[in-house]
């Protein structure tokens, strides 16, 4: 909406102007054509009318002259007036003719010899038989030769136009009748001809003099019109009836044409001033101009309206497109113009629809991908959980928490290292099916691992039935604490082993499994060792070897620790020195201690009595017993003693000893050894 707002309205103006210009142009052209044709048509009509007027005027003047000739003929028709009576009759006839033809001023009759025999006049005296010789005059000669003669126009008293008409009488003695005709009477003919409002008809003789004109003054002034172009052209032989624009006798520009008056050689001109001739044309032009103006106004209005109707939807389209472009994909453009614009709006709406659909599809895809990713994550987690089993939880945690870089790095640290294995494992398990073996060893390792983890140990690795564990890396609570935890763990393991041996015996493993444990505290190199492809997080060093060696030296079911460890745990653990041990690779002999139990555990040592001997199983917890139970238990044991009384005392001694020393692993092993050595 911002960028296109600058040229807004230009389309409107453009359309409106174009429409207006088109219509105005068409109107102007049509108006011009109309005026052009109207000019032609109107001019033709005018010329036709003027021609008719001119022709009728010419005919009227011809008739005027013909009328006079006819009357002259009538007087000569009487033939020869013979004798005095004849002369008298002729005079009467002439007088009558003067009465009937007011334009004739004077009449005379010449006999065949050209001598005047009679003259009657309105002005002068009537003369009878004057005998004046007129035989040499053209009036007489021409009339005698041709029958009729029309004289040139002359001006009586330099003002009044006159013409002589001579007519020969019939046969011998007819003579020639000569009439002087006052041409002012043509005025009546000419004045009656109306040529428009200001047009004029006038008569010009062969010399170009004005003979008749509605303004009699012009005639009486003996106006010469030879200087007028139309008169000059007519006298030079121009075609009658052809219109010409020229000044009329009064000096106005006029449309002029003429008709000839043949017998006299005169011409009737009809002039219509251009002002009047063109008046209808001007009116028509004015009308056309007015129409064009109105048309232009209408066209401008219509153009504005049409353009508005066109640009309205376009602006709505533009606004709609801007909204869709702005992200409002739900927006739809409403245009109902039933034309291409509506189609365009539909296309826009389709586009918006598709856009919104593809948006929705995209979101679905994103959700799908996210789900797949989560699944993969879960799989990875599962995988890593599985992997975790192969790693020490501490290592696992620190690796997965990103605390420890998985790289070939190592450091030297003081750790407590623990080794254990099952004494005589190979012999015990040699006969077992692999499934059972697997189940057994897994069970064993699981139980041990649980105890180890409970005590915060880092399980380095399992080597068959052997377990390697250390404390102090990756987490350490201090060397002393680590060592104590390790020893405590070893004790717990041995105790758990005693419990497990019951379970395993029930499961069919006759030979009880005993484990040997060796513990040593010392400096090790800890870190990731191996190739680029395969690595182990482990410890190496003499400490490890010594721990392993101690384990080998430990009796089954016993825990053997080095002096270094003993020094760290002696405050809490009761131990017995075993003696010095020579270890390969170590120059001095190593002092070894056998772990008895925790000091606090030793206090409650008599709380329970347990014994598992061939043919004897004893599990008594006197501390938990009531008085009656104690009595009953004592009774059972007395019976047992009674039953055993006839046997050698050795057995009694054993029982007594165990009673002296409490539960002790070493005792058991001694007994085992004893049992093993001496049959019962």
């Amino acid at each position: 909406m911002t960028a296109p707002s600058a040229p807004r309205g230009r389309l409107l103006r453009k359309y409106a102007l174009t429409l207006a210009a088109l219509v105005a142009g068409a109107l102007v052209v049509s108006g011009a054509v109309q005026i052009w044709f109207a000019f032609g048509v109107q001019r033709d009509a005018l010329v036709r009318i003027e021609n008719e007027k001119a022709a009728s005027a010419a005919r009227a003047i011809e008739q005027f002259v013909a009328g006079i000739e006819g009357q002259l003929g009538w007087t000569s028709h009487a033939g020869a007036y013979t004798g005095p009576e004849g002369a008298e009759q002729q005079r009467f006839d002439f007088i009558r003719l003067l009465r009937q033809a007011p334009s004739i001023t004077e009449l005379s009759w010449l006999d065949d010899d050209g001598r005047e025999q009679l003259r009657t006049s309105r002005v002068g005296l009537d003369v009878v038989a004057s005998g004046d010789d007129h035989s040499a005059e053209p009036a007489f000669m021409e009339a005698r030769d041709k029958g009729t003669w029309h004289g040139r126009v002359y001006f009586h008293k330099e003002s009044e136009p006159y013409m002589t008409i001579a007519l020969a009488g019939r046969g011998r003695g007819g003579g020639v009748t000569v009439a002087e005709v006052n041409l002012k009477f043509i005025w009546d003919v000419i004045a009656d001809i109306e040529v428009g409002e200001s047009g004029r008809a006038y008569v010009v003789d062969q010399a170009g003099r004005l003979i008749a004109h509605p303004d009699i003054g012009l005639v009486l002034r003996r106006t010469e019109l030879i200087h007028l172009p139309q008169v000059a052209a007519a006298l030079a032989g121009a075609t009658a009836g052809a219109p010409m624009v020229a000044p009329d006798p009064e000096g106005r520009e006029a449309l002029s044409l003429f008709a000839p008056i043949l017998p006299l050689g005169w011409r009737v001109f009809v002039d219509l001033p251009l002002d009047e001739a063109n008046r209808p044309l001007y009116a028509s032009m004015l009308r056309t101009v007015a129409l064009v103006l109105v048309g232009v106004l209408l066209a401008a209005g219509a153009g504005l309206l049409l353009a508005r109707r066109m640009t309205g939807p376009i602006h709505r389209l533009q606004a709609g497109a801007a909204r869709i472009g702005g992200g409002d994909l739900a927006d739809r453009i409403e245009i109902r113009t039933h034309d291409e614009l509506e189609v365009l709006a539909g296309a826009f709406n389709d586009m918006a629809e598709r856009l919104s659909q593809s948006y929705a599809g995209l979101e679905g895809q994103v959700a799908d991908r996210t789900r797949a990713l989560e699944q993969k994550n879960q799989e990875l987690e599962t995988l890593s959980t599985k992997l975790a089993k192969y790693l020490a939880p501490q290592v696992y945690d620190s690796i997965f928490a990103g605390r420890q870089e998985v790289q070939l790095a190592s450091q030297r640290k003081k750790l407590t290292v623990f080794f254990s294995d099952i004494a005589g494992f190979t012999e015990t398990t040699d006969q077992m099916e692999s499934e059972d073996l697997t189940q057994l060893i897994n069970h064993y390792l699981t139980e041990m691992a649980r105890v180890a983890l409970d005590h915060g140990a880092t399980i380095d690795k399992y080597i068959g039935d052997a377990i390697m564990v250390f404390f102090g890396d990756p987490e350490t609570h201090g060397v002393k604490e680590d060592a104590l935890a390790c020893v405590t763990m070893a004790i717990a393991m041995q105790k758990r082993m005693q419990e497990l041996s019951t379970i395993w015996r029930d499961a069919g493993i006759a030979q009880p499994l005993r484990c040997r444990i060796g513990i040593h505290t010392g400096y090790c190199t800890v870190g990731n060792f191996g190739s680029e492809d395969r690595m182990d997080y482990t410890i190496i060093g003499g400490t490890v070897n010594l721990a392993s060696r101690l384990e080998h030296e430990a009796p089954p079911g016993g825990i053997l620790i080095s002096y270094e460890t003993y020094a760290l745990v002696k405050h809490a653990i009761h131990c017995e020195e075993v003696g010095r041990l020579r270890v390969r690779g170590i120059a001095q002999e190593v002092g070894t201690w056998r772990v008895i139990d925790r000091h606090d555990e030793l206090v409650d040592g008599r709380a329970s009595i347990r014994a598992e001997l061939p043919h004897l199983t004893l599990d008594a917890v006197p501390s938990s017993m009531s008085a009656e139970e104690r009595a009953a238990a004592a009774s059972v044991l007395r019976q047992a003693l009674d039953a055993l009384s006839y046997e050698p005392t050795e057995v009694q001694a054993d029982v007594a000893r165990s009673g002296d020393h409490g539960t002790c692993f070493s005792d058991s092993t001694k007994q085992d050894d004893g049992v093993g050595a001496k049959p019962v």
């Binding site: 005079r91 006049s121 309105r122 002005v123 009537d126 001006f155 003002s159 003054g217 009486l220 002034r221």
Partner: protein, 328 residues
């Protein structure tokens, strides 16, 4: 529709009123100034009025037409003239040469349409030629003096054995005297004895004396040269001549209508009617100097049969044929 009609009608009425007022404000003044009397000139004024009407200058509507008469006293004429000039007269119409000369002399700036002008240039001051008068005077020439021969001839035809003819003319004005002389010559040329009688005033007694003189001279006929005096006295002349048994020949039919025997001359009322067109042209701005003096084209012969009978005269065929009218 009604309201529109009303508005149009009201507008039209208003416009008409305004136009009327505007025209009234500029209504041109046309004056007829006669030396003779209202009675004698009435036919002329009526004809002039009609003529003006015919060209769209209706008196009292389009123009103001006033007529003033000196009652035969030429001395009174200048006062009349001064009066209308003071009123801003646009055109002055006069019936004859004497009046035309008087206006020409006293108010040369005022256009004059004159009747009864001579057909020749007798007074260059009046006009220089018929076709281009060149001054402030234009008008019509009745051909009066040119018809002298014809009048004598016609009188001779009507009065058989006519030997002596009396010629009555205004003797104050040299113009009319010369016309009288011309007529006298014409009479003599046709073998008649002629007695010329000069009228010097409008007094009847003087006229009586003249008429008696004519009778004593043995005149059987009398030709009256028209001027304002003879025109003024035409009634007395006709009656006295009849009483004395003298056949009269005048110029204007009016004379015959009141008892004269015959008249031959231009149709004066017709000329006065045509004078209306000239007045119109001048009011439209035409210059009299360029307006040709029109000669009369029609002459009428009027005979009074009763007068002829009283004179014991028989109207001959030639006269009857020629007569335009025979008053019974």
């Amino acid at each position: 529709m009604r309201r529109r009609d009303f508005v149009v009608a009201a507008g039209g009425a208003l416009a008409g009123t305004l136009a009327g007022q505007a025209r009234a404000a500029t209504k041109p003044l046309v004056a007829y100034l006669g030396i003779a009397s209202r009675t004698s000139d009435q036919p002329f004024v009526d004809s002039l009025r009609r003529g003006l009407q015919e060209v769209g200058r209706t008196p009292d509507v389009d123009i103001t037409l006033v007529d003033r008469y000196a009652d035969g006293d030429l001395a009174r004429f200048p006062a009349l003239l001064d009066d209308v000039v003071a009123q801003g007269v646009a055109v002055i119409v006069v019936p004859g040469i004497a009046a035309a000369l008087a206006v020409r002399e006293r108010a040369p700036q005022i256009p004059v349409v004159a009747m009864g002008l001579p057909s020749t240039v007798l007074y260059p001051d009046l006009f220089q030629s018929l076709h281009r008068p060149g001054g402030s005077v234009t008008g019509f020439s009745p051909f009066g003096e040119d018809l002298a021969d014809k009048r004598v001839e016609l009188l001779r035809e009507l009065v058989p054995g006519l030997r002596t003819v009396a010629i009555l003319n205004n003797s104050i004005d040299p113009l009319y005297r010369s016309w009288g002389e011309k007529t006298e010559q014409a009479a003599r040329a046709q073998g008649l004895a002629a007695v010329r009688l000069g009228v010097e005033s409008k007094e009847r007694a003087a006229l009586d004396k003249l008429m008696r003189a004519a009778k004593e001279a043995g005149a059987e006929g009398m030709i009256i040269v028209r001027d304002f005096l003879t025109h003024l006295l035409q009634q007395d002349i006709a009656q006295k001549a009849l009483a004395m048994g003298i056949a009269t020949m005048a110029e204007q039919r009016n004379f015959v209508e009141i008892g004269g025997l015959m008249s031959y001359g231009a149709d004066h009322p017709a000329m006065f009617r045509r004078a209306g067109a000239y007045v119109d042209d001048i009011l439209d701005g035409a210059d009299p100097a360029d307006m040709p003096i029109q000669l009369a084209t029609q002459f009428e012969l009027v005979v009074n049969r009763r007068t002829a009978e009283k004179l014991d005269l028989e109207i001959p065929r030639s006269i009857l044929l020629r007569a335009d009218e025979v008053i019974e």
